[in-house]
Symmetry: C2
Subunit: 202 residues, 2 copies
DNA sequence: GTCTATACTGAGATAGAC
DNA sequence: GTCTATCTCAGTATAGAC
């Protein structure tokens, strides 16, 4: 068989479909087609659609942690790691222009649906918030680390939103550049482009 | 009867519900209950759900134009008018924390649904983009007016998103303050708080 | 574990009486 | 213009055979 269990295939296909079409708009038929099983067979693996959502959020949390660990294991400086975060928008620009930021769009959808999983979904944002906060802390911005972290998170989600709305790649690239500029001035670093190394690590 | 026609009532109730629950998640039953008519009676006024969406977008466009006209008719300076735009986030902070930015969330939802009305919905963002661009132009930022307009639009939508995700009022207020600070430094204006007059005009 | 068949629900939409 | 009744379809979920 394949390298992944059927259950894992369902979760990973749902992950993609929830991102591309939204949670509510994705039906079991869509997922069943993607993983090539019958609709009825779902309930052997998951007891409800909500439980698939829970599994998808867990998967995304795990993937986010892995991403952050990868950026750290490159043993870059904190400023370069933040640069990696900013450049993530470029690495994912095609998807972002079509479907927006995966974290933000899931959160806003669940907020409107008043869905019980909203709280755990917001943990996806918290992971990046906490990580960014620590990077700014390491840069010496001890008192305003959270403010800076939230500011950057806010700007990255805003950039993703306008790129998705207008479908203009240039907008995303402009905002990424402005974020790098902001990072350079807000921390008192010597010049030198921090954006070069970070694009490599997708 | 009431001051609004039944058709107008349907549009305005749908406007609110589409914002609060999302377009797809709002059913005719929801709208019917809100305006106190029977489900079957819808089709006298609108031939489909999509046509209600078109009407809602038209209404929002008209309301946006009216809002911008109001800010202009106060005969403030261009900088103060931009301040009004920024402060809009504070005026609407309760709704934004619950339901996000009305413009951004509709756009992202329609993008995921691949809905034909996505293009006209993006006009809602374009209205603000164009208006902001003109304000920056009037401030003397002739070559980078569009860049500055999109930057501010991006930041306002990002601020709305994180406030909605984390449910922390303070985050929204912090970002609003940073936008005012940015505005003051990006245009070479004498000091003096530009946020004071703009909160008045909701 | 995987399938088919089916129950049940709520959605958008239509027909026709009043 | 507004109503009730009804159609059709897609969605989630279940039952039970293999």
């Amino acid at each position: 068989m394949s390298e992944l269990s059927k259950k894992q295939q369902i979760v990973s296909a749902s992950d993609l479909l929830f991102y591309q079409r939204g949670y509510a708009a994705t039906s079991f038929a869509d997922i069943a087609e993607a993983v090539q099983i019958s609709r009825g067979n779902f309930y052997y693996h998951f007891k409800s659609k909500d439980s698939i959502l829970d599994a998808v959020i867990s998967l995304r949390l795990a993937n986010s942690h892995k991403l952050l660990r990868d950026w750290e294991s490159c043993s870059l400086s904190a400023a370069e790691r933040i640069g990696c975060f900013i450049n993530r928008l470029l690495v994912k620009q095609t998807d972002i222009m079509r479907y927006g930021c995966p974290v933000a769009t899931l959160n806003t959808e669940l907020a409107k649906l008043n869905h019980p999983a909203k709280a755990t979904a917001s943990m996806l944002s918290t992971v990046f918030r906490t990580w960014l906060r620590r990077q700014f802390f390491l840069l010496g911005e001890k008192s305003s680390a959270d403010l800076l972290a939230m500011h950057l998170l806010s700007r990255s989600q805003g950039a993703a939103t306008i790129a998705n709305t207008f479908g203009e790649q240039k907008l995303l690239q402009q905002e990424v550049q402005l974020m790098h500029d902001w990072l350079r001035t807000c921390i008192k670093l010597p010049a030198g482009n921090i954006s070069t190394p970070s694009l490599a690590s997708a």
